[in-house]
């Protein structure tokens, strides 16, 4: 059952790949679009907000902010190490800097600058990594960040957020601006289905049960736009008689221990879903938590120690095993493992 408290989209199960729901496809938006809106709202709300960009204003969606607040936009050029360390200086002088580039470079190239000048200093810099995941598509492996959440999750003081849709991305951006400390925000390039609405609550550090089930046999913990594939998988498995819970884990760090452990306890079998390396990402984080708090069988959907390649987003998602059929297979497998244990 869809959680009524979250005011989710009514057509949340519509599949944009099917012709009958072409209207859904038209209504899609990218999480980077949501960021662009949220950044302007954050700047309106707080005069300390500034944005720095490494020569990618259009594709990181800082363009609107730049037009609206030219005096608060700072061009850095293609220099991501400088981007991060400059922002530490801006924060030390009282600003709330958002730094934007592709996730492959930010936090990919400037990881040490983030570690020393932002995390260790606990500076309220908001690191925005765009074009995360294989769904960047034709650009290929160099631009498909698959390790960014892992890089950021292991830094003390850092908060890591991976929004599921454009609306959640907007809210996450606003929330990050007011969060007292460094934040990594992960965004995608592609237009993806909207699942949440303006009324859906958002709070950093809170996971949300999107879908509940009577006598659930498994729970999916998903992050980012792949949450939609998780919902489709759960729906189809429900039609086949397997009750599946779906939890949106937008905040990878700090993890919402209570919600995650409670859902694992209820379902006794877990599948994690992310467009990222399994190692160090959501899957790793959930496994670390449940190994200590409530060990249950876990199956992981994500990239398995590989680099991406050029291709269309949809075919890459399928090739790297993150499609609906893969999630359904993982659900069957994890439920089977649970039965075998009993």
């Amino acid at each position: 059952m869809i959680n009524p408290d979250l005011h989710l989209k009514e057509n949340i199960f519509d599949n944009p790949d099917q012709a009958a729901t072409a209207a859904v496809a038209k209504a899609m938006a990218s999480t980077r679009d949501g960021f662009g809106k949220g950044l302007i709202e954050a700047a309106v709300a707080d005069a300390r907000v500034v944005a720095l960009c490494a020569d990618l204003t259009e594709s990181t969606r800082v363009e609107g902010f730049k037009k609206r607040f030219p005096e608060r936009y700072i061009e850095v050029g293609v220099a991501e190490q400088n981007l991060a360390a400059l922002a530490s200086g801006f924060a030390a002088a009282g600003k709330i800097p958002f730094i934007t580039s592709y996730a492959a470079f930010n936090p990919g190239r400037n990881n040490e600058q983030i570690r020393t000048t932002i995390s260790l200093n606990r500076m309220p810099v908001k690191i925005c990594g765009m074009h995360a995941g294989v769904s960047v598509g034709p650009d290929g492996a160099t631009h498909q960040a698959l390790e960014d959440m892992a890089l950021m999750r292991i830094q003390p003081h850092m908060t890591v957020i991976s929004p599921c849709d454009a609306e959640e991305a907007r809210k996450a951006t606003l929330a990050a601006a007011q969060w007292d400390g460094p934040v990594y925000l992960r965004f995608g390039r592609e237009k993806t289905p909207l699942m949440t609405t303006a009324e859906t609550p958002f709070e950093i550090g809170k996971a949300q049960m999107f879908l509940s089930a009577e006598n659930p046999q498994a729970v999916i913990f998903a992050t980012g736009p792949l949450l939609h594939n998780a919902l489709l998988s759960a729906k189809q498995m429900g039609d086949e008689g397997m009750g599946v819970i779906v939890v949106n884990v937008a905040t990878i760090k700090p993890l919402d221990r209570d919600t995650i452990v409670a859902a694992a306890r209820e379902a006794e079998a877990v599948v994690t879903v992310e467009e990222h390396q399994i190692a160090g990402g959501l899957g790793g984080a959930i496994a670390e938590l449940l190994a200590q708090e409530y060990p249950v069988p876990i199956e992981f959907i994500g990239v398995r120690d590989q680099f991406g390649q050029s291709g269309e987003p949809k075919e890459l998602i399928e090739h790297y095993g993150m499609g609906v059929s893969h999630i359904k297979d993982a659900l069957r497998k994890v439920v089977g493992r649970k039965s075998a244990q009993v």
Binding site: I74, Q81, L86, G89, F90, G94, P97
Partner: protein, 296 residues
């Protein structure tokens, strides 16, 4: 600003000597750390903390203070010693350097000791932070957010080593600061010609360093880094330069003040032994024998 009086210059020189003694004492107590760099920058840090910087040791977070970023964090003993002598914390605390639980970490950490401005050690990132601060302080002044009201906003100083100019991040920052005409930013390069593996010009030649900064849009000054009045005059000149950041290339002698250490790159990263420290402290107290000879 008026030129230094002879009395002021003498007092600063004496202060630098006392700071050098503290550096030797703290390195001996720590049993590890860097010796040559801190000694070589003692005159400049004395000039900064006791003459150049607008600051308040009792109120390290004073909004209108000048900012001093130390980019090459490994020479932090000179900063700790200068801060202690300036009144930020008791001089005795210097002996906790590098010890468990100390606020004086082996490399400086902003969150542990008020007044440090930032954390450093990994080389090449200080100038970016200083440039970001300089830009943001200018923004805030223009927005009328500072208590000073007008457009006289704080200056930002960034002390760097010459060796760390091997790092690309410094040149990214230098390009950006030049492009943004950050006239409230003053870089200070400790041009002592040594780095861990040898002499800078044999590891990775930096010359012509002046030309490089000028090409990046900076005003460049060169001084004798042990001539305190000359360094102070350069800092004053930097304040008069509009539309450009200034970098002061300070020619220093690593290990300055102690003959056994001067110009020897092997003293980059090791502390003195107990016996050596006694000899060095005596050398400093007698100003390399000059004081004793005057009384003979």
């Amino acid at each position: 600003m008026q030129p230094l009086t002879d009395t002021e210059a003498y007092e600063l020189t004496a202060r630098a000597n006392a700071i050098r003694q503290t550096i030797i004492e703290m390195l001996l107590a720590a049993g590890s750390g860097h010796t040559a760099g801190p000694l070589g920058m003692a005159d400049i840090f004395t000039a900064l903390y006791f003459y150049v910087l607008k600051h308040d040791p009792q109120n390290p977070d004073w909004e209108d203070r000048d900012r001093l970023i130390l980019s090459n964090g490994h020479i932090v003993p000179v900063r700790y010693a200068a801060m202690a002598h300036a009144g930020y914390f008791p001089v005795e605390e210097c002996l906790t350097l590098r010890k468990f639980g100390s606020r004086l970490q082996g490399h400086p950490e902003r969150l542990r000791l008020p007044g440090l401005e930032t954390t450093s050690g990994p080389l090449g990132s200080g100038l970016s932070q200083a440039a970001g601060m300089a830009y943001a302080l200018g923004m805030s002044a223009r927005e009328g957010q500072t208590s000073s009201g007008g457009l006289t906003f704080p200056r930002v100083y960034c002390a760097m080593s010459d060796g760390e100019h091997d790092a690309g991040n410094i040149w990214e920052a230098a390009m950006w600061a030049g492009a943004n005409h950050l006239s409230n930013l003053t870089g200070i390069i400790d041009r002592n010609n040594i780095q861990i593996d040898g002499y800078t010009e044999s590891i990775m030649p930096l010359e012509p360093l002046r030309d490089k900064y000028e090409a990046f849009g900076w005003h460049v000054l060169e001084v004798d880094g042990h001539n305190i009045p000359q360094f102070i005059a350069a800092c004053d000149e930097a304040k008069a330069i509009y539309e450009k950041p200034t970098v002061i290339i300070a020619h220093t002698i690593p290990g300055k003040g102690i003959r056994e250490i001067e110009r020897d790159y092997r003293w980059h990263g090791k502390p003195p032994s107990k016996e050596e420290a006694q000899v060095f402290l005596n050398e400093l107290r007698t100003m390399q024998g000059k004081v004793a000879s005057e009384h003979q």
